[in-house]
Amino acid sequence: MKININGKECLANDGDYVLQVARANDIFIPAICYLNDCSPTLACRMCMVEIDGKRSYACNTKVKDGMQVLSNTKELWDERNAIMQTYCINHPLQCGVCDKSGECELQNFTHKAQVDTQNHWIKEIDRRHQDWGALQYDPSLCIVCERCITVCKDKIGDSELKTIARGGDAPDKDFKDTMSKDAYAVWTKFQKSLIAPQNGTTLDCQECAECVSVCPTGAIINKNFQYRSNAWELTRIPASNPHSSDCELMYYDVKQRSIKDNTKMVYRVSNDFHFTTLNKAARFAYDIASDCKGKDEVEFNRLVSLFKDNKIKNVKFNSYITNEEAYILELLRQKYGFNLVNNEALCFQDFLKTFCAHSGSFYNASSDDVKKSDFIVIAGSFLRHDNPTLSYKVNNAIVMNKGAGLYFHPIKDTKFSKIAKNFVSVNCDYGKEAQVLEFILQYFAKDLPQNLAYIKDAFYEEQIEVEVKSKDAEGNEIKEKKQETIKKSSLAKELGFDEDKLKDLLLKKANFTLIIGNDYFYHENAKYLAYLLANIQKLTDFKVMLIPPRTNTLGVSLLCKLSKASDGFTLGYNERGDFSFSNDEHNNLASSNLLEQEGTFVNYDKRLVPTNAALKFKGYYLNDLANALGLDALYTIEYTEQLPKDKGFLNIAFDDLTNHYDNAGNNHRGYLIDTCEFVKNLKQDNQIPQNIKSTCECKKDDIVILANPIGNLSKYTNKSSFFNECASLYASKDYLAKHNLKENSMVKIYDDKDEIIIKVVLDKNIENGAYLPTFDDKINPYKFFKTRRYYALNIKEISYE
């Protein structure tokens, strides 16, 4: 369909809003309150346009074929001028010190609407600053556009902000005659309301600080950035989130450290909030650069000779590396024949390979599909903790598309189940992962293959009473109660889930997505799960999405031939080994952090995205080691072009990669991996795996899962001063009650071999369960978990008597 905006023909889709179409066609319509992918709030009224001669608002008017839209007439700008005037009433003129000065939308629109006089006045009200934990709220700067509320509800899913009464005077009635209707309405609303946390005083949220990012003025501000730099002093360096596999586009804002110290420092992380949302890790864990003083030649030469003498048997590494580094490691492996050890990536790789072999294709959903879908099933992931950014997208889909969904997890995330009535949390037991997939196959698949036929028969019969209405000979209605036998899924029963609910949830749903997380990759029955999942992708309407557990797990899985560790000398690259070439504190030779490197990641959307170096690293890069060992590249990014084509990479040079979103929201970040090529070149192993009965037959109450608190995703995030926590056992209220534990007391958790002494902390947002984090280097939970996600651990409070 075509519409005409300011004389320009624009193509539009049914259901688009006028503002979206205008933006996609690079036509500027001013709007303060509207955010992409969020519901229009109509708070600012700046987007008023004339449609076929009638005044309406571009943000909530849907397009009709042949519409004539005008957005730039003098009358409209006069109205906008009046509105901007009302925003400026009593707005403090502290632009000189305000942190938003220079990137303030109020400033911009005040200029744009050419406000140069102030014709109105009203009594001043109490405007004291409010302390919201990591954030500060300044009511005097707030123009109540409600963007923070909108983003928190529609994108993040915390719904932690609301409007409260401001207690200001109503504007004088005389002004009603002298000013325009819209401006008067905006002003009246503005005098009435103010933003506040849901519970009144402080925020009880995951602290993603997206509200700070979307705030057009400086009303909500990060305390750790406050008054430290003006916006225009900072250099924006585009990068990708190095902490989780969303790898969202973000910017490091960099400036010299001080007058005396000219070295660069990251002052904050910012984002294109219309198109990307950042999680807490990306937003705050940026001060993690290594304090490497220079090149330690002695240790470097020792490392080189270790390779040359063929002493190294294993290279242990994690997935917080770039594709180029992974490729260098793989090239070195081919040359020296050591084992590349990365257990997490190995599990994921195996899962992926089995999945691809049986489905004949790569997993076919991306986060965009999640955003578009209206029925989402999540299984095997403690989603808000594992991948906060994807949980935002799930929330966005469910809120915006009036979607429904199921969330299978043993631990109940109460915040998640508050998103919508139609988003049902199913508290299935541990070890029932296969049943979840089998149930989905049973319910949604059209034809099951021969060897899965047993799923079709997994029913039991139940007697229920049904009221039957009928008419007797005289035409009166009679109600009769009848016994009826119906078939019900025994799988659903095992999961503790009423399948009848599903019928209501599935009303008018068309786009299905299934999200699978860590639990499945690390499962002892992973092969069978992957097989079932492949069938789901093949036989049902579900699009399947796997969440790579770490930043570049997918890239590593594509590029490296991983194996288990054998005995012998181990080089730890960013990990502990007999020789550590690492960015940890305890290392033999310092390596660079991800924010000191150029390179690329493969994110969960199967997209190769570039990231730039924010800071300079003075030590040795992995590339230097590779050069010393006979490979030849001046910079690490020379490998970007060489990434293997048979694994699906395209041979595009790093400098030719783009990294941005356009006005219409189209993704121009790097390129999509050619997954068909990857699957084609995969060594097919079509053997159908066996369903192994879970050996985890332990008491459900004792189970502890391996998960981090929201945002503190790894040892790297914990290095930053914003987190810097000691590991604790995070437990739900009922878990504490069941084990007779007090909050914040010291406990011993143990199995028959090992024990850890740790503090126990209450997590208000979960039910029936506890989790042990991995971010603390000093406490090693892997000695219990190995590669499993959950484990039964005994727990006992320690008394000091």
Binding site: V97, Q118, K123, H129, N230, I259
Partner: protein, 223 residues
């Protein structure tokens, strides 16, 4: 005193040798030459009449508009620094010689923890003083900036008026300072609402109890 002479454009040109001779005789016999000589001798011998400034014992007094090394001013009343750390001087500086460090102060306000100007780079264009909304950075009179090295930094402690010397702080009148009639351009702010309300209520009180006694009392108070 007659200052200007009208040029006689129709003056007759002297061209013949006789006329030239007569003119030079006239000039020789005139006393102008001697009086000129006397004036010169007189001026030369006069005491304290030297145009030469004996630098460095003597220094020239610069005009207000001269742009010498910067000063950071304080408020005379509160002794606070005037600089609010807005960074406009840093932004506008075309030779990129200004840097500042700011942070959140203990009082919750923006604190300028340090400030520096690289006088080796500064071209003394005066934009910083002109753009400063608080008249905090101004040009001083210190124009001797020879240094041993190219980059030569003035830090906040060097250019900020010391508290004990606050009494000698001079208001800057050069570029960027307020014009003399600046007060006339100030508009009433929305906060004036309170003042107006207060006046209204005052007026209504005085109207309702408009006795002579009150009036005289009020007048006495006003005086």
């Amino acid at each position: 005193m007659k200052k200007y002479y009208v040029v006689d454009e129709k003056r007759k040109l002297i061209l013949t040798p006789y006329e030239k001779f007569i003119r030079s005789v006239k000039r020789c016999l005139n006393t102008d030459l001697i009086s000129g000589l006397a004036f010169i001798i007189n001026e030369t011998l006069k005491r304290g009449n030297s145009a030469t400034i004996k630098y460095p014992m003597e220094k020239i007094k610069l005009d207000n508009r001269y742009r010498a090394v910067h000063r950071l001013q304080r408020f005379i009343e509160s002794e606070n620094e005037r600089c609010i750390g807005c960074g406009l001087c840093e932004k506008i500086c075309i030779s990129n010689c200004i840097r500042m460090e700011t942070k959140l102060g203990d009082d919750g306000r923006k604190l300028v923890s340090n400030y520096s100007i690289n006088l080796g780079r500064c071209i003394y264009c005066g934009f910083c003083a002109e753009v400063c909304p608080e008249l905090a950075i101004v040009h001083g009179v210190e124009y001797e900036n020879a240094a041993e090295q190219r980059s030569y930094f003035a830090h906040k402690k060097d250019i900020l008026t010391p508290i004990d010397n606050l009494i000698n702080q001079v208001e800057f009148e050069g570029a960027g300072s307020l014009r003399a009639d600046a007060d006339d351009f100030v508009k009433v702010t929305p906060n004036y609402y309170d003042v107006m309300k207060a006046r209204e209520s005052e007026a209504s009180i005085s109207n309702s109890s408009d006795t002579k006694e009150d009036k005289t009392n009020k007048e006495a108070k006003d005086v």
